[in-house]
Each structure stands twice: as C-alpha cells, then as structure tokens.
C-alpha cells in the first residue's frame, strides 16, 4: 500500500501531471476562467474552514475536564453576513455560468452542418460533402461547426473535453451541439452517458486540421454522393415526389422552402417545421397532418434509417436554400 502511494507521487513528480485538459475551442478559455473562479472560491472557503476548525481545536482545547465555557447564543449580524456573502458569490456564478451556457447552446447561423448518429457502441458522422466517418471527426480550425445528433437506440452523450462541450444524444429526437475549433491537433471524443456493455469503447478522435489540410482531407476522403444528393436519391427511391410535387392536385403539401416556416395543422394548431417535425412526419405521418390534406401517407418507420432521414432532411434544406438563392 505504502509502495503504491510512493509510486504514485513519484509518477506525479516525474510526469508533471497536467491538471487542466487541452484547450482547443473558442469557448474553452472562457469556461476555464469561470472554472478558475470557482476553484478560487472553493480553495478559499475550504482553507478558511479547515484552518478555523484546526485553530479553534488547538487554541480552545480543553485544559480541565470540568471547564464549562460561557455560552454564546449566536449573532444575527454574523448569520446575515455569512448568508449574504455566499448568496452574492453564487449569483455571480449563476449569471456568469448562464451567460456562457447561452453561448454554448446557441449555434451561429453560418455554422457548417454535420450530422451525428450514435448507436451501441459507435459514432457515425456524415459531412455535407458526403464523407462518412466512424468514431472520428475531422474539422477545420476557425470555422463554426454545428452537429445535429440523434441515436438509434439508447441515450448517448457526445463529449469533447478539449472543447469543453457535451450534449446528450437521444433516440427519437434531435439535439444540437456546436463549436469552433481553435487549435490543430487530435482530441478525445467520449460517450459520456452510460449506454451499455461497451460504453467505454464508444470513443473516438476529433482531428482538428488547418484549413488547407482540411481541404486536402476532404478531397482525399472517399466522398461518393453528397448528403443532399443522397437525400434526393432517397426522395425519388421512396417515391416521395409523387405526392409532394408542388401542384394544385398533389396529395401532400409541397416541400419547397418549408424549413423554418410555420404551418397550420388539421387540428387547428400551428407548428414550426424543423428537423424534429420532418423526422416525425416521415415516421408518424398522421400524427400532425397539415391542414387541407388527408391522412393518407404511409409510415416509413423501419424503411429509412436514422442516417437516411438525416440525408432527406439535408435534401429538403437544400430545397429551401435553392429557393432563397433564386429570389434576388
């Protein structure tokens, strides 16, 4: 036992054990500053309490078994003081933390869109240009990247410590994560939500490349068709266009330029068309039918994979973009 302790400390001395992980994203430094502030508060109050307890224990140690010190009933002033100081400090923590959280949770609108599907026990990543990666993610330095993520089975969590970001990946729902990498290198990618037998094997590497290297990687990696093309192929393959072509007699609503729009449902409610709604409409088409159309669409549950749905969504998004471009 003692040997183990000895060895451990030797190792610390020799290796110069790091206590802060690498810092490779635009938010990492800000989050570290907040962390240092919290650490400072913790060290200060821990040291204060430890030394007070120690000092009182020594200074006021019992000198005679019969001594009975004068009672002190308390002090309202002190109670208020040591309620107010922690309250003030924690409110600083709250606003500081909430401010950064808002940044971490709000992707910039010009972010490159990547898609992530988690399954027991691997990460599958699709680039818009069509490159696919498993347990690896290549991104360029300095460009914001947004991940839209879902799971095929249980809850996972996409975690890159060097970027200080993490988000759970849920089945049946899309979650988002964004970052701007700031330093080239390779960094750990972990699954942080326990997901079964090989949870600790659901790891990978994030490779951050200088823009030029990234372009080289893009052109070197086997791409095949782009996400939009794949989506367009699926769209035809499943004959979606037979009902969803724009036209007065079509059985389904037109899918031109719908993303982000509000539509009225047959039930009278309105929904905003987002990725989640598109996904639901492919898998449970009759749950939320657009007003003016019949519930005639069959479900595609089990026929299109989660990745396929993401490709379809990418395709539908491209329709929206194409329209916008067409308009001056």
């Amino acid at each position: 036992m003692a040997t183990l302790v000895h060895l451990a400390f030797l190792a610390v001395l020799q290796q110069g054990l790091p206590i802060v992980p690498e810092r490779a994203s635009s938010v990492a430094k800000q989050i570290d500053y907040l962390y240092y502030f919290l650490t400072g508060v913790t060290l200060f109050f821990s040291a204060l309490i430890f030394s007070l307890v120690f000092y009182f224990a020594v200074r006021y140690r019992q000198r005679h078994p019969d001594e009975r010190p004068q009672p002190i009933h308390g002090s309202l002033g002190l109670e208020l003081l040591w309620s107010a100081i922690p309250l003030g400090l924690t409110m600083v923590m709250f606003f500081w933390g909430a401010h950064l959280f808002y940044i971490v949770r709000t992707p910039p609108s010009d972010a490159t869109q990547l898609y992530v599907v988690g399954k027991q026990w691997m990460w599958k990543i699709q680039h818009p240009e069509g490159q696919r990666e498993i347990n690896a993610l290549h991104v360029p330095v300095g460009r914001p990247v947004k991940l839209t993520m879902t799971s095929e089975d249980v809850i996972h969590s996409f975690y890159i410590p060097a970027f200080r970001i993490k988000m759970d990946v849920l089945p049946g729902r899309y979650t988002e994560l964004w970052f701007t990498a700031t330093k080239a290198g390779t960094y750990h990618l972990f699954c942080a939500e326990y997901c079964g037998a090989k949870h600790s094997g659901m790891t990978g590497w994030v490779t951050v490349l200088e823009p030029a290297d990234y372009e080289a990687w893009l052109s070197g990696a086997p791409a095949g068709e782009s996400l939009e093309q794949a989506g367009a192929r699926l769209f035809r393959q499943h004959n979606c266009h037979t009902c969803h072509e724009a036209g007065p007699t079509s059985r389904g609503p037109s899918l031109q330029e719908i993303l982000g729009k509000q539509v009225r449902l047959a039930s009278g409610e309105t929904v905003v068309v987002d990725e989640g709604y598109l996904r639901e409409s492919i898998l449970q088409p009759n749950a939320k039918v657009v007003a003016g159309y019949e519930s005639v669409m069959p479900t595609y549950q089990g026929q299109i994979s989660e990745e396929g749905i993401l490709q379809l969504i990418a395709y539908l998004k491209s329709l929206t973009r194409a329209e916008r471009k067409a308009q001056p």
């Binding site: 039930s267 409610e269 449970q284």
Partner: protein, 215 residues
Amino acid sequence: MSDQATTLAPQFDDLAQQKESAIFGMWVFLVTEVMFFGGMFAGYTVYRYRFHEAFTAGSDHLNLLLGGVNTAVLILSSFTMAMAVHSAQLNRRRALIVFLVLTMLLGSTFLGIKVVEYSHKFHERLVPGPAFHFDGADPQHTQLFFSFYFAMTGFHALHMVIGVALLAIMTGFAWRGRFSAEYYNPIEVSGLYWHFVDIVWIFLFPLLYLVGHHG
C-alpha cells in the same frame, strides 16, 4: 365493551394522544399517496398536451356510461363510509356493520364494472403491448394513452382492493365489538383512506374519460 387497558398502546399517555396520532398518521400517509399518484399525473399531463389528438382518439374509446356510473358508485360508497364513521361515533354497532358492508359492496361493484371495462378493452385490442391495434391517425401515441389509462386505473383499482380488504377486517372487529364511541380510530382512519381513493377517481374520471369535448 373495551377498556383503556386493551385499547391504549403503551407508548401513548392517553386515548386522546393515541387518536390524534392515528388520524394525523393517516393524513401523513395520504400525503405520500398523493405524490405516488402525482408522478403519474405529471407524466399524463405532459403527454396529454403534447399528443392531444391521439389522446382524444383514445379517450373516445372509453365507455363514458360505465365510467360515469362508476363515479356515482364510488361517491355513494364514500357517503356510506362517512355514515359508518358516524355510526361508530354514536356507538351504533349494528348500523356500523351495515354501512361497512354497504361500502364494501359498492366498492366491489366499482371493481366489477372496472373488470367489465378492462375485458372490453382486451377484446378491442386496446391493451398496450405487441397485440395493441388501433385504427386511428396516430396509433402509437394512442397506445401511450392506454398505457396511462391502465397504469393509473390499475393502481387505483389496487388501492380499492386494499380498501375493501381493510374494511372486511374492520367489519370483523366491529362484529366482535372492538369499537366504541371512545375508541374507533381504525374505522375513522380506514374512512380517510377510502375517501382519498374516491378523490383520486374524481380526478381520474374527467382526465381519462373526458379528454377534448364529446360533442
């Protein structure tokens, strides 16, 4: 009929303390029960809002008549239970037994009707699980409705069964003359429990049977 020595437990100073503790104890226990059902209510309200259409469709397949009759039966049983406590307070043993038996009968009627409803659902293949089948726009979420329906009414029915068993024991005690105007805590406490189960149903009925409007 009963003297202090047999009805006062040694940890209490007097009968009044014992009675207050018993009644307060039941209230505290009911707090726990509120939270037990509360977990299901919380989930139900969330889903009911999110999948309103599917839940309405499911609710339409419940038998409003049977549900309504059952509500009346349960309310009536609460009344007879209150009368049982009343009889105990006035030391009327025979009336106490009659009202307890009536309450049990009404409770059993409720459970009987519930069994009929359950068997209908079973035949209509509305019991959640692999055999579930529903011809509606959104069968998946309608199945969720029925999951809640069976979980909530099932736990409620379980409480009814426990209540009827409790009253059967109380009837036995009453028969043997264990109670008097001074000591009838078990009757009063059983009554509190029974009324609580009634209240749960008062909320379950509109929540489950009357989703949306029934034009």
